[in-house]
């Protein structure tokens, strides 16, 4: 299974959840597969999905899923200690770890080599870290959503991409409709 297969299986679970989607293909795939006002599409700023997600989770009570990638977490490693030490029970960091920079041509990341993101998250002090295979993504995300505990999920899947158009929505529109869902 590649990332878009994982996202397809998750849609029934996450469609009405607050999602912060990572730059590039994760945002574009969610936009194509299940565009929702509850999706905050990042159009730039690689690395900050987990930080935006944590800030949002700390600011209000609705559940928040940051849909992140291995390359982006590697780019902003400082996020993991911040998450560990500022626990938001309504926050799920879902790292789709395909061991590659998918949006730029599938160049390999270190998480596909010797570096384990789940081990790093645990070493940073994150209390509830779950690593799963793509086939188990649904059950893993479901139990995180059903629970009341901040969860870091590292979902391993194969590298590869589907063809998706770029998002031509205005960023202010993305923000405005998202904030209305948050406030509802």
């Amino acid at each position: 299974m590649i990332r878009s297969d994982v996202l397809k299986t998750l849609i029934p679970l996450i469609s009405d959840q607050l999602l912060v989607t990572n730059i590039g293909l994760p945002s574009q795939e969610m936009h194509l597969l299940d565009d929702q006002p509850s999706n905050f599409y990042m159009l730039g700023t690689m690395g900050l999905a987990s930080s935006i997600g944590l800030g949002l989770a700390l600011a209000q009570e609705k559940k928040v899923i940051a849909l992140d990638g291995d390359g982006s977490v590697l780019m902003n490693f400082g996020t993991l200690p911040t998450i560990a030490n500022n626990v938001a029970s309504n926050f799920i960091l879902l790292i789709i770890d395909n061991g590659s920079y998918g949006s730029t041509g599938d160049q390999p990341t270190y998480s596909g080599m010797k570096t384990s993101l789940s081990d790093v998250a645990r070493a940073c002090g994150c209390d509830h870290v779950v690593e799963c295979q793509a086939e188990d993504a649904f059950d893993t995300v479901k139990s995180a959503l059903d629970g009341d505990q901040m969860t870091i999920i590292v979902c391993k899947c194969e590298s590869g991409n589907i063809k998706v158009p770029v998002i031509d929505m205005d960023p202010v529109v993305i923000k405005d409709r998202f904030m209305k869902v948050v406030q509802s």
């Binding site: 900050l48 930080s51 935006i52 944590l54 800030g55 949002l56 700390l58 600011a59 400082g78 948050v182």
Partner: protein
């Protein structure tokens, strides 16, 4: 009144309730006050771009965020300012310790100081320079202006200003 107290009062008056910080010697006093403030969630960040992500998320969640940082951080936050804070039109007061100005003991700090205003100007970020302790009296209005305009706004506070701490 200490400038630290004036800054704190301006934050409280503007109902700022989420502050991310990366420390600087000059900011130590105000960071301590923020950490003790009951109505402000203080979240130290490891890098300032991470802090801007936290502030963006908090704003989406209904908070009134601010970031406290050193001017050297302009170098690591330009992309976050342009593609997140400005692109999505979010307010972000940046209270900045302006290192490398007159009174600076560390030569390396001058290297970013000479670029600071030029970079902020290039980004079209409204910028205020606090040099005398009394300049802090304007902070309340600057913060209101920032949230009204939904833009990042920079307040540079130099070594001479911090003599009022």
């Amino acid at each position: 009144m200490s400038v630290n107290d004036v800054i704190m009062d301006a934050l409280v008056e503007n109902k700022v309730d989420f502050v991310t910080t990366v420390p600087c010697k000059q900011l130590a006093g105000v960071i301590e006050k923020i950490d003790e403030a009951p109505d402000i969630y203080h979240i130290p960040a490891n890098r300032e771009d991470e802090g801007m992500g936290l502030c963006a998320g908090a704003y989406l969640g209904g908070k009134r965020p601010a970031i406290i940082m050193q001017n050297t951080a302009i170098g690591v936050t330009i992309n976050s300012l342009a593609t997140l804070i400005q692109f999505y039109r979010m307010p972000l007061p940046m209270l900045i310790s302006y290192r490398g100005e007159v009174g600076e003991p560390v030569a390396c700090q001058v290297e970013m100081a000479v670029h600071t205003k030029a970079l902020l100007n290039q980004l079209s970020i409204p910028t205020y320079h606090f040099h005398k302790p009394d300049d802090a009296d304007e902070l309340t209005d600057i913060l209101s202006y920032c949230y009204m305009s939904k833009k990042p706004v920079a307040v540079l506070m130099d070594a001479t200003f911090w003599k009022g701490a």
